[in-house]
């Protein structure tokens, strides 16, 4: 009896030990590379080693150089404009489509849903030239509306699915009873459903906002002038030349670019779990 207890205690100890060991090691593996990037942003001049060195000399030189000797602030502004435009319009389009797919039964609904799921798998990379030519035909090179449109379109399929999934979790009785009370389509949508979908709307807004920060391929092709490129393209220029990699400058620009998104991420973290879980799964 006593032996059993002891072995159980031991088992409990080991299971806890391994659990925390796992969590701590994984945390270190996540934080370590990020910390290296953050730290290298504060290192002077050209970096000899891209590794963690807490005794190094800390300086703000890179940020000064970034602000006053490169177009970084301009790129930052461009990215913010493009991201905001993408966010506003994508959330509107995706909310409308997701709501229709969730709440109405109409001819073409099922095939529409399958199409949305499949179409995002087709790579459109080879057609970069096509976008470039289209932009030339429309005199839209370097203009933000064109690239915003492309980002919106790229995000529609997946996000419509997730949005629909979230609407599915909002009980139907709510809109049924409103309908009986004589509420029209718009009133049900704006006064009943949308307020309940706020967590997911926030998540959708964040994703749409993030996309232009992360993409550099489309931006590289369609934004030609140095004054109209986005952060991703601009930062890549710092390290593209293997002979003259400005790693510290790149790191400084990176953490400033990542900061707003990381902050938003943690503010919305709670919405995230609920939004994604109901949106991304069947149950």
């Amino acid at each position: 009896m006593k032996g059993l207890c002891k072995s159980q205690v031991l088992k409990k100890f080991w299971s806890r030990f391994f659990t925390y060991a796992f969590l701590v090691i994984l945390s270190i593996m996540i934080i370590y590379p990020l910390l290296i990037t953050v730290q290298s942003a504060f290192q002077p001049g050209n970096i000899v080693a891209f590794a963690l060195n807490l005794h190094s000399h800390w300086t703000l030189d890179n940020f000064r150089r970034l602000f006053f000797h490169t177009l970084y602030l301009r790129w930052y502004g461009n990215t913010l404009i493009i991201a905001t435009g993408t966010m506003i319009f994508q959330v509107i389009v995706v909310t409308m489509a997701g709501y229709a797919f969730s709440r109405y039964r109409f001819v073409g609904r099922r095939n529409g849903l399958i199409l949305f799921l499949i179409i995002q798998m087709v790579p459109t990379l080879a057609a970069l030239t096509a976008f470039f030519v289209l932009a030339m035909l429309l005199h839209a090179l370097d203009s933000f509306w064109f690239i915003i449109l492309l980002y919106i379109g790229g995000g529609i399929p997946m996000n419509t699915w997730l949005m629909k999934g979230y609407f599915d979790t909002i009980p139907r009785d709510l809109d049924e009873s409103a309908k009986i009370d004589g509420a029209g389509h718009l009133r049900i949508l704006f006064q009943i459903i949308l307020p309940l979908a706020k967590p997911m709307l926030a998540v959708q807004a964040l994703w749409a906002f993030m996309a232009p920060f992360g993409d550099f391929l489309l931006a590289k092709f369609l934004l030609v002038d140095q004054t109209s490129i986005t952060i991703a393209v601009g930062l890549q220029q710092f390290i593209i030349d293997p002979q003259n990699q400005m790693v510290a400058l790149f790191a400084a620009g990176s953490i400033l670019a990542a900061l707003p998104i990381v902050i938003l991420f943690f503010f919305l973290q709670k919405n995230f779990v609920s939004g994604l879980t109901s949106g991304g799964t069947k149950g």
């Binding site: 389009v93 529409g112 990379l125 057609a127």
Partner: protein, 437 residues
Amino acid sequence: MTMDNKINKKAIRKAGILSIIPGLGQFYNKQPLKGIIFMSINILFIIELLTFGISSIQNFLTLGTVPIRDNSMFFLVEGTLQIIILFIYLVVWILNIIDARKTARVYLLDGSRKSSSITILKNVWQKGFPYILTIPAYIVMLFVIVFPVLVTLFMAFTNYDFFHTPPAHLIDWTGLSNFFSLIFLSAYRSTFISVLWWTLVWAIVASTLQIILGILTAVIVNQDFVKGKRFFRTIFLLPWAVPAFITIMSFSNIFNDSMGAINIQVISLINYLLPFIHIPMIPWKTNPFWTKTALIMIQTWLGFPFIFVIVTGVLQSIPNELYEAAKMDGANFWQRFTKITLPMILFATTPVMITQYTGNFNNFNIIYLFNAGGPGDVGGGAGTTDILISWIYKLTVGDSPQFGMASAVTIIISIIVVGVSLAVFKKAHTFDSEEMM
């Protein structure tokens, strides 16, 4: 009775036939507003055809005859746009016939033919609301996704390469020759096969690892006794929160052979802590095998938080009684995991998991930004770690662009990816469940 039926059918047919010229059927049904709308769409379309359409279709068919004056690529793009416009018009035209016939039938059943423009508008709003909601999404996708896919499809049947760059040279239709080169020309075929092989290995291994790590982490964090859940969850979200291009480019430095943290810090630390083993410096960026290993590790790092979040949600929705009952029956931890937890997770998240695989199949950013597909190459313009999508990129922007070939490869990829995913979805009965659809 049969007489009536005959007359009815005649009226319906008449409305339908009249609608071949859009609007006439609606006028016949005494719906002038609808008639005017359909008719003006038709007139606009005819004007468009005369000013732009017909010539652009002609140019599309020839792809230009005089170099410099004619730019084949412009013709190709304009022709594709014209095909899309034609398609939209066709949809409107069919809708117009369906509408005329339907209205004719309804009126004959009701016996009345009066319906004011206002009731029609109301009707459109009431019945057409889901369509009004989805139309913007379809229109944007038509130009942002369908348009490039069509252009790619067409380019695959041309000889668009560095010998034929407009406007100095013309592009020509060459039928299936790109596909033949891929299959029969040994240089292209061997490149294609080796790149495809690594693409498959990459997509399967990287996605599976990120799914396993995501599920494992979620299950471990979700244990009742774990303290600081919020703290750990916050940290585990970081790889997702930081824009991927930043972390990939940082990793590219961290894995640098001579000045990167992995070689000069991590490996020396491991050697110090475990004196009985000795790991040498690893050629992460110069040896294909190690570059591939690094890529897979980095993708696992980048991709697991998404799975972690989703699985955490699923775990929280599994009722506790299920586990209690299993415990009563004497099931141990492993049995509970494989018999309850895992099936629940997989059932709930199949579509998301599949998008992980297709996403990695086309994951251009990590391959290109980490080591530009290098080191070295396997011929045909592809590097040793290039996957199909980054090979396509190189075929498109390299020193000797091969747009036609790149498009042919894209078409083949798309058929593989879409075919396999459809099969998996079908097998998982994704489209059958009412909840899902």
